[in-house]
Subunit: 230 residues, 2 copies
DNA sequence: GGATGCGGGAGAGCGCTGCTCTCTTCTGTG
DNA sequence: CACAGAAGAGAGCAGCGCTCTCCCGCATCC
């Protein structure tokens, strides 16, 4: 595929990568809205129209960066989980959440790109789904291990939510109780509420010791999913 | 002040309002990024440079819209709370959260403007703080009433978070226990995680019956703050 | 009541953007 | 080796935020 016809294709993938790298540099520096195709081209010593041979539009370039960002965050979460493999479920959960927060604080513009308001008029293509799922899969993995292991308490689940819970469970983790899956999905969203509020300044003049606050909040999230207290 | 010199000043406030109205129309239609000073001016039958007599920059216009959006959301939350004044604390909490969600779903671009990624390079001026606080104040009010009334269970609070909890409590609600205030701040952020994930498409292919899911999630949030089960 | 100062609208223009189209060069392949 | 197709260059279009200069007319003050 990519190495099929040799030199030509290799040059293409190299230049594509160079464009993405320079684009990422600008994204990191100034945010997505200021990412300019012309500036990227200029920096690479090419003319702007040439860049369209590689990315048909600015949005396509952004999509590539979105996927990379999801992957970067996912890797970070997976790595954090790997290192904490022997810890208690709650400790592993907390570690992964803290990795997400650390990544977000270290990559604010990339975080904003993937979890902030979507670029207007832009809807993420399905291409992004696998990369976007990685953090969620890590969290599911932690809960699954706890479920197989010493156990997991099941959160309450009202009757009217049972159909939806069943649907989600079938899609996400058929081996887990629907009570758990439902709580997990909610906690997953809530985690990003905590991160987003810190990152986007909503905690200014409200929370100061954000690290401690965050750790405690995600520990309570873990308990809410039914993970045993450490 | 505003009515000081009569006609002149009145014309000015009228035109300022007209500009904001047209700008909001464009914001609602296409989102903040596509809001164009020139288009607003065009629609109002004036030339773009004239608009700068009223708003010194696009960011200033956006700031005005941000404040309006916070106020609109705050009003909605306050109104919802008012109508549910006689209900149980948990029911009032849930009602207010649902009002926030409903407002967000009805005003996606305005929600994105205030709770999505901040416009790059843009930091909200302090002018926005009072308007931005309104929803939080409603939530605090519900908890405060429960605290004065039949009671409130206090969530756990680890020792290392006690200093920060004390700080937050002094700033936000000195009459409430720090355990409660800490949980409240976390729940406040988590609420916006739930809303944001639904609004920005993260729940696509994951949660279908979002209304039921949301209600259950915020009920659990209420319990997490220590409000009595309804 | 007439001179005056200033608020506010008009217009041109600068430098930037995304994107398109055409022309040309170069290169890997049949 | 010839040639198709890939890829870069350049000009150009329409839009943007913002500035500056000009000018009109209304409200004020003597």
């Amino acid at each position: 595929m990519s190495t099929a016809h040799g030199a030509r294709a290799r040059a293409r993938t190299e230049i594509t990568a160079a464009i993405k790298d320079e684009a990422r540099r600008q994204l990191v520096a100034d945010g997505a809205a200021k990412l300019s195709l012309r500036a990227v081209a200029r920096e690479l010593g090419m003319v702007s129209s040439a860049l369209y041979r590689y990315f048909p539009s600015r949005d396509d370039l952004l999509t590539a960066l979105i996927i990379d960002a999801y992957d970067s965050l996912g890797e970070r979460a997976e790595a954090a989980h790997g290192k904490a493999a022997d810890a208690s479920p709650v400790a592993r959960w907390t570690t992964v959440c803290e990795a997400v927060r650390a990544w977000a604080l270290g990559h604010p513009h990339e975080y904003a790109l993937i979890y902030g308001s979507p670029v207007p008029g832009y809807t993420a293509p399905d291409t992004t789904v696998p990369a976007a799922s990685r953090v969620g899969l890590v969290l599911i993995g932690i809960v699954r291990a706890a479920h197989r292991g010493p156990g997991l308490t099941e959160p309450p689940l009202p009757a009217e939510l049972r159909p939806e819970a069943g649907r989600m469970t079938a899609d996400l983790a058929p081996d887990l109780p629907p009570e758990t899956v439902t709580a997990l999905v909610a906690s997953w969203a809530q985690l990003y509420g905590l991160v987003g509020f810190e990152l986007f300044g909503q905690f200014n003049r409200v929370v100061e010791d954000r690290e401690t606050f965050f750790r405690h909040a995600v520990e309570r999230l873990a308990h809410g999913v039914g993970l045993r207290a450490a």
